[in-house]
C-alpha cells in the first residue's frame, strides 16, 4: 500500500447515548418493544391460549412472573458464567423457573393448569423470555433487568389480554369470569346484551387466532403510516 492511497483519518464523533432512566426501561417493554405486536415473537401462546379472556389473562400473569424471575437470576449470575456456555446455562435456569411456576399453578389454580395445558411448560422455549435474558439481562444490572422483565412481561400480558378479549367477546358474545381463574366468584360480562346469537364463532376456533392478530397488526401498521404522512 502506498502513502498516497492513505485516506485521511476521519474523526468520528462518539455518539453519546443518553442513559435510559429506569422508567424508560420499564415502559419500553410495554409498547415500543412489545413482544407480540412489534417484535412478533412468542406467538405460540399468543395464539393458543387466547381463545378465552381468562386463559389469556392467566398466561399473561405467568409470563410476567417467569420473565421477572429469569431476568433477575440471569443478571445475578452474568459475571460468573463464561461466555461460551452461557446459552445452556440460561436454558436450564429458564426451564427450572418455568417448572416452579408450573407447580405453583398446579397447586393454586388447577382449572387454569388444565386450560393452558402444555403451554405452561412451553414458556421455556418462548422466544421473548430467552431473548430478554440474552439481549438485556446478560448485560445489565439486577435492578434494570428486573424492571425490564416486568415491563416486557406486562406488555406481553396486555397483548394477550387484548387478543383474548376480542376473540372471546366477538366469538361468543360475552366474557366469562371466574371459571378458570380462582377469583372466588363466577360472573359473565356482557351476557345481558344478548349478543350470543350474532357471535362470530370462528374467532374462538384456531383460524380466528391468526385472523385477530393479523387485523391488529394491520391496524398498527396503518396507524404508523398515517402518523408518518402527517409529519
Amino acid at each position: 500500500m502506498t502513502e498516497a492511497k492513505k485516506v485521511p483519518v476521519k474523526k468520528v464523533e462518539p455518539v453519546v447515548e443518553k442513559e435510559p432512566s429506569l422508567w424508560d426501561i420499564f415502559t419500553k417493554g410495554i409498547w415500543k418493544e412489545n413482544g407480540i405486536f412489534v417484535m412478533v415473537l412468542g406467538l405460540c401462546p399468543a395464539l393458543a391460549v387466547t381463545s378465552s379472556f381468562e386463559g389469556a389473562f392467566g398466561m399473561g400473569i405467568l409470563v410476567i412472573l417467569v420473565l421477572t424471575m429469569t431476568n433477575t437470576s440471569v443478571s445475578l449470575i452474568r459475571k460468573v458464567v463464561p461466555d461460551t456456555v452461557r446459552i445452556p446455562v440460561y436454558v436450564i435456569i429458564i426451564a427450572t423457573e418455568v417448572t416452579i411456576t408450573k407447580m405453583l399453578v398446579d397447586a393454586f389454580a388447577p382449572a387454569l393448569a388444565t386450560k393452558l395445558g402444555v403451554f405452561i411448560a412451553l414458556i421455556t422455549v418462548n422466544c421473548v423470555v430467552f431473548g430478554r435474558a440474552e439481549s438485556f439481562a446478560s448485560k445489565n444490572n439486577v435492578i434494570k433487568s428486573l424492571l425490564d422483565g416486568v415491563g416486557v412481561g406486562v406488555g406481553f400480558a396486555l397483548s394477550l389480554v387484548i387478543i383474548g378479549f376480542f376473540r372471546e367477546f366477538l366469538g361468543t358474545g360475552a366474557i366469562v369470569l371466574g371459571k378458570t381463574l380462582p377469583l372466588g366468584f363466577e360472573y359473565t360480562v356482557f351476557e345481558g346484551l344478548g349478543l350470543g346469537k350474532y357471535a362470530f364463532a370462528v374467532l374462538v376456533q384456531p383460524p380466528g387466532a391468526f385472523m385477530v392478530i393479523g387485523i391488529i397488526l394491520a391496524i398498527i401498521t396503518a396507524a404508523r403510516q398515517a402518523k408518518g404522512v402527517k409529519k
Binding site: 415473537l41 405460540c44 436450564i92 380466528g208 393479523g214
Partner: protein, 190 residues
C-alpha cells in the same frame, strides 16, 4: 387407534402449526425463501423424531421409576439441545452439502416449541412407544408440509396488490387464518 390413523391425524387433521399453534416463530420468521424452508422442514422432521425416540423411554423408564416426573421440562430441553448439537456434528461429518443446506437452521430448532411440545404431549397422553414415534413423525411431516405450502403462497403474495397497511406480516397472518379454516374442514375424517 392404528398407526396410519395417528400419522394422518397428526400430520393433517390436528396439524401442529395450524391447529395446535406450535413452532409459529419459525413459521412466520423463516417462510420467505423456498430453499431455506425446505432445509428447515427436513431439520425439524429429523429432530422431532429423534427427540421423541429418546424422551419417551427417558420419561417412562427413568423419570417415572425415580418418581421425578416434575423435572420433565428440564430433562427434555437438555435432551433436545444436545440432540441438536449431535445432529449438527453428524451431518457435518457425513454430508457437507446437507450441512450447508441445514447448517444455520439447526441451532434454531433447539428453541422451536414444536419439538418440546411434541415430546411433552407424547408423555402426557397414554400411548405406546410406536404410537408416540408415529405421532412425532406425523407432526414433523405436518410442520414441513405446512411451512412449504405457506412459503409458496407468501412468495406469490409479494407480487400481489395488497392494501398498504396489510403488506408483510398482517396479510401473512390472514393467509394462515384461511389455511387453518381450510384444514378445519378436514376434522372428522378420522
Amino acid at each position: 387407534m392404528n398407526l396410519i390413523a395417528i400419522l394422518i391425524s397428526s400430520m393433517i387433521i390436528n396439524n401442529i402449526v395450524l391447529m395446535q399453534f406450535l413452532g409459529l416463530c419459525s413459521f412466520f420468521g423463516v417462510s420467505t425463501k423456498m430453499k431455506s424452508v425446505v432445509g428447515m422442514g427436513l431439520a425439524v422432521i429429523t429432530v422431532i423424531f429423534l427427540s421423541a425416540a429418546i424422551t419417551y423411554p427417558l420419561y417412562k423408564f427413568v423419570l417415572v421409576e425415580l418418581g421425578i416426573q416434575y423435572i420433565d421440562t428440564i430433562a427434555f430441553i437438555l435432551v433436545i439441545a444436545s440432540l441438536v448439537q449431535l445432529t449438527e456434528l453428524i451431518i457435518k461429518r457425513f454430508s457437507q452439502s446437507l450441512y450447508k443446506a441445514l447448517g444455520v437452521y439447526l441451532p434454531l430448532i433447539a428453541t422451536n416449541c414444536a419439538v418440546l411440545g411434541v415430546a411433552l404431549t407424547n408423555v402426557a397422553t397414554p400411548q405406546s412407544y410406536p404410537e408416540a414415534l408415529m405421532f412425532a413423525l406425523g407432526s414433523g411431516l405436518g410442520y414441513a408440509f405446512i411451512i412449504i405450502t405457506f412459503t409458496a403462497i407468501r412468495l406469490r403474495l409479494d407480487s400481489a396488490n395488497v392494501p398498504k397497511a396489510m403488506k408483510g406480516l398482517p396479510i401473512a397472518f390472514i393467509t394462515a387464518s384461511l389455511m387453518a379454516m381450510a384444514f378445519m374442514g378436514l376434522s372428522g375424517i378420522i
